[in-house]
Symmetry: C2
């Protein structure tokens, strides 16, 4: 013990970390929450930031603010780099924090399955910065198409490929298709934004592989109705400057010229977790004990997406979703609280995952879902979407965000408007060909040859 009261260090202010901190609110300990971001992020709605429906502040809340009333918590904006489990010290990029208990809830990062060179061309969606970058590329694609005279080049610019058909991939593909077909149509003069092509490529044999097959089929049909081309059973084998190559099982590779590629295919654990020296699964997540502690380190817990564990009852892998992270946070927090109160030594309860169900939305007013708690009802269409909206608004932390998100959604729902269509950062239009459309008085006739020769000269 470093002081009179034990210190519990929690790494990560996501759902897992916040719930662990809250479980300790009446415990006689000092809690330190370490995060390299100052905000808690409601990741399930991040795709709406990426597609310009919500703005970042609507799905994020300062961690300090969320925890400001819990007096035994301190928040530290710092990057955790490694754990010295022997000495019970967490190393930061610029300092160190000794701990009595450590709860690691850092989340995961994208996995490109060994092809990290794809990352620049095919960004994934985990942070606010990822989302605003994807939004920038998404909006710039239409701007570039408006200026592109060459028809094949224009088609490539307006081709969006989403790799991976889990919930994030399905939601992104649906949202992109819908915005192109409805939200933007009136704003452009030269292009028909509804001609944008959205291709969803999935390695497995169906979309939403974690859902029951009938819901996968329904999701696929809904996506196709929105104009998304769904390709299953195909592996992405190359990503380069001009597009994607995918290879269907037992068939030759197919090439797609595409200006925008989004990666929603895989995740992997962070180096911070590897630094524990504990056994990891293939994705680099920590194989934790049934009580969520690290083998041989009862004072260290790993929770949330970073943990790899099978549910005690169903023997199925606990999925990397918010409710699981929250439940794990509460579980670890309560074990620590009880041991602080009674002293260690008592047997610890095993974590049990309560599956409340799963929901995935496909554009406006369409979703699929399964109700959990052993009920197992399958929901589709508007009912599933309404439930999805309700659940997501309810979970949003902070009353204020809830109201504003609700207003924004209602507005978008009624008027097909995009609330947050900002291109921030570099607004350079990625023109891929020297030839370029020039505003022309008579649109029927082709534009006069313009070229890019006039650069800066008189």
């Amino acid at each position: 013990m470093t002081g009179t009261r034990p210190r519990v260090v929690i790494v990560g202010g996501g759902f897992g970390g916040l719930h662990a901190a809250r479980a300790l609110r009446r415990a006689a300990c000092d809690v330190v929450v370490v995060d390299r971001r100052n905000h808690h992020l409601f990741q399930p709605l991040l795709y709406q930031v990426a597609t310009a429906s919500l703005s970042p502040a609507q799905i994020a809340a300062p961690i300090r603010k969320v925890l400001s009333r819990q007096r035994n918590v301190e928040v530290l904006l710092a990057e955790a780099e490694s754990v010295d489990a022997e000495r019970r010290v967490l190393h930061l990029r610029d300092g160190r924090v000794p701990y009595d208990y450590l709860v690691l809830a850092p989340g995961v990062t994208h996995s490109y399955f060994g092809r990290d060179d794809w990352a620049a061309r095919a960004p994934g969606l985990k942070t606010i910065e990822d989302a605003t970058e994807i939004r920038r590329r998404f909006l710039l694609a239409f701007e570039a198409a408006e200026r592109e005279a060459d028809e094949p080049a224009r088609r490539a610019v307006l081709t969006f490929v989403v790799v991976g058909a889990g919930p994030t991939g399905v939601e992104m593909a649906g949202a992109v298709a819908e915005i192109a077909r409805r939200g933007l149509v009136r704003d452009f003069r030269r292009i028909d934004t509804s001609s944008a092509r959205v291709v969803l490529v999935e390695h497995g044999d169906r979309v939403l592989g974690s859902f029951p097959p009938d819901l996968s089929a329904r999701a696929r049909r809904d996506l196709e109705r929105l104009g998304v081309t769904v390709i299953t059973g195909a592996k992405v084998t190359a990503i380069d400057a001009s597009g994607v190559e995918y290879t269907p099982a037992g068939a030759p590779p197919v090439r797609l010229e595409a200006g925008n590629i989004l990666w929603a295919a895989g995740v992997r654990g962070l180096p911070l977790c590897a630094s524990l020296g504990a056994p990891l699964d293939r994705a680099g997540r920590v194989l934790v004990n049934p009580d969520l502690s690290v083998p041989g380190r009862p004072e260290v817990f790993v929770i949330g997406d970073a943990a790899s564990i099978s549910d005690a009852r169903s023997a199925r892998q606990v999925p990397g979703v918010c409710p699981a992270a929250m439940q794990m946070g509460r579980h670890a927090g309560r074990i620590i609280r009880d041991e602080i109160r009674r002293g260690p030594g008592a047997p610890r309860p095993a974590f049990r995952y309560t599956n409340k169900g799963e929901l995935a939305t496909i554009g406006r007013a369409r979703a699929v879902g399964v109700i959990g708690w052993g009920i197992g009802w399958h929901l589709k269409g508007f009912v599933a979407w309404a439930l999805w909206a309700l659940v997501h608004i309810t979970y949003l932390i902070g009353f204020r965000s809830r109201i504003l998100v609700m207003i924004d959604w209602m507005w978008s729902y009624l008027f097909f408007e995009r609330g947050a269509r900002l291109i921030t950062g570099d607004s350079t239009v990625p023109l891929r060909h020297a030839r370029q459309a020039e505003p022309s008085a008579d649109r029927g006739a082709g534009p006069p040859p313009a070229g890019t020769t006039g650069l800066g000269g008189t």
Copy 2:
């Protein structure tokens, strides 16, 4: 003429450019609006983004969206670099656009009066990116202070210097002081955010130099009540990594250790305007004819902040404010419209600035203002603030933004909440000293020596 209809090219989608485009909505011409950003920005509220009260999307609207119903307008996302006035061609960074009429409304940029090396340390506030960068620094200052053990260093981190006491400087200083004193107090454990020091340095002999002296005096009193230190008649003579040096008239220089410096002191015209070859004023703005056209180039107009002109009636310089830009845009647009209809040759009316008044706000529920139209009433306190809020909400383009901003304001007003407290981009805490506070179990006793020695170790 390049086609069957004349082409009017407008550079800049700000208030001036948009109003010029709208004045041409029934004219038999093709209008091309060129902007390097995809959004129109409501600059008067930008300081609220910089101080985390509003999020960027709330004060910005896509230019395409604003103009989508005007069928004779095309929007081009492109950077205008220079004008070849002889050949009537606008050169873009990646292309060229010939014009029959050209309206330049590109705004201005910050002027550091020859000390451009100060820009990195003392950012100005013109764009969304400026605002989010200032917000990042502003919020990180409190994070750094929370981790800083050294008292003088902590005080420097929590010292905010605003250079220039025009409306932007006054608004920034007031907002920063208010947030530090009220908005953040409960969220930190080690620092008293209300101990933050805000210093406003002005070269002239009073704040809000363009306002009547009694209102300047009131604004100063309001600022001082908020805890702002107001220093007038002092010139900033150095800005470096650790602070600011200012020199009062006839006195030795004074040094201020300050972690955050904001530049609100001067503006200058853009190279695009200089490329016209027309006479410029000392700040690099184009000295336009009474009809807003460029001397010797009746087909080229310069409007908004980029234009330098004296009002025909009052003989006073037209100020760089939104209403002036809107009026100029309308004026130039109508001249072009009329000449397209009747042919050139008729004498052009001179621009007349209708001064509707001026308002500047100082924190929550305080403002000063003058009613225009020759009435000249002076307003102070809550009445002025209420008028300010009303005017700004009314001017906000887009009904939707209006509702959301109103809700946000009401909310902040009632609950002292900060809606958009996100640090995006690099979240590294700028620790300026090696010594650093460590979370400590017993706060009364000093923290155990921690140092930054553990970096990346075992």
